[in-house]
């Protein structure tokens, strides 16, 4: 099922669920935060966590299912990297009104700031 907002954003409901599930766990958020700094090997990803490697593997599977990470083989090693697009799509989808009002109010505030600045220059 696709959802269409007034602003034209479309996202599959299943993907939305997968992404929100993926970021609902602190360990998975920490993994995302780590991978946002650049690709890493599995053992490097697992290193900061005081948890079994199996558990890290499960977290990575959930992140992969949500499209938030991808694995790439380079020689003998597999590198895991972060993909931001699903989060961006979710953000665009989930919050049209927060986005809408923030954009409007930012512009409104800026208008008066610019007006004040121009007034001082005169």
């Amino acid at each position: 099922m696709l959802y269409i907002t007034p602003y034209g954003v479309m996202l599959g409901m299943d993907q939305l669920t997968d992404v929100l599930t993926a970021i609902s766990h602190p360990t998975r958020r920490a993994i995302i935060g780590q991978l946002a700094n650049g690709p890493a090997r599995f053992l490097d990803v697992a290193k900061p966590f005081d948890t079994a490697l199996n558990a890290v593997t499960k977290h990575l599977k959930l992140l992969e299912r949500a499209g938030l990470i991808e694995r790439r083989k380079q020689g003998r090693e597999v590198f895991i990297s972060f993909r931001g697009e699903p989060l961006r799509e979710v953000a665009g989808w989930v919050h049209e009104y927060e986005r809408f009002w923030n954009q409007r109010l930012d512009q409104f505030e800026q208008y008066f700031k610019d007006k004040k600045t121009k007034g001082k220059k005169k």
Binding site: P6, L16, I23, R29, I32, H95, Y97, Y111
Partner: protein
């Protein structure tokens, strides 16, 4: 609002460098960037109590009725769009003097609690906190 629909609300605050009367007037002037009317492709606006508005953006209609108009303190109107599932939500904008500036508060309440709203609580704040760079530089589907 229908009784069987849960609703959510969003609150926003901005400090605007102008006195409340000027900000109040600006919020109702379609020529001033940032207010909802400024972005309209088609606009009918009658900003007085029981006055209606109609505007479209990207072909999507928005309707409402002004319910409070107390210059320079407060504007309140209903807000109906496809995103409110055709139900009336409420937008309340208050303007409070803060030194030489105005503390402007906008509360949009009565928005149907769809998956969109719930999704926000789980993901949006976190996302904005951690990945502003990705968001700012990414291609927005707008």
């Amino acid at each position: 609002m229908r009784a069987n629909i849960k609703t959510i609300e969003f609150k926003f605050e901005r400090t605007v460098p102008a006195p409340p009367g000027e900000v109040f007037d600006g919020w109702l002037d379609p020529k001033i960037p940032g207010n909802p009317w400024n972005m309209a492709e088609k606009l009918l606006l009658n900003p007085k109590v029981d006055g209606f508005f109609y505007w479209t953006f990207k072909g999507t209609p928005h309707y409402g009725r002004f319910t409070e108009m107390e210059r320079p303190d407060q504007i309140q109107h209903t807000w109906v769009s496809p995103s409110t599932l055709g139900e009336e939500s409420t937008v309340t904008v208050t303007f409070k003097k803060q030194g030489e500036d105005t503390l402007m508060t906008l509360v949009h309440s009565g928005i149907p609690d769809t998956d969109a709203g719930r999704g926000h609580e789980k993901g949006w704040n976190y996302f904005l906190d951690i990945f502003p760079g990705h968001y700012a530089h990414g291609q927005r589907k707008e």
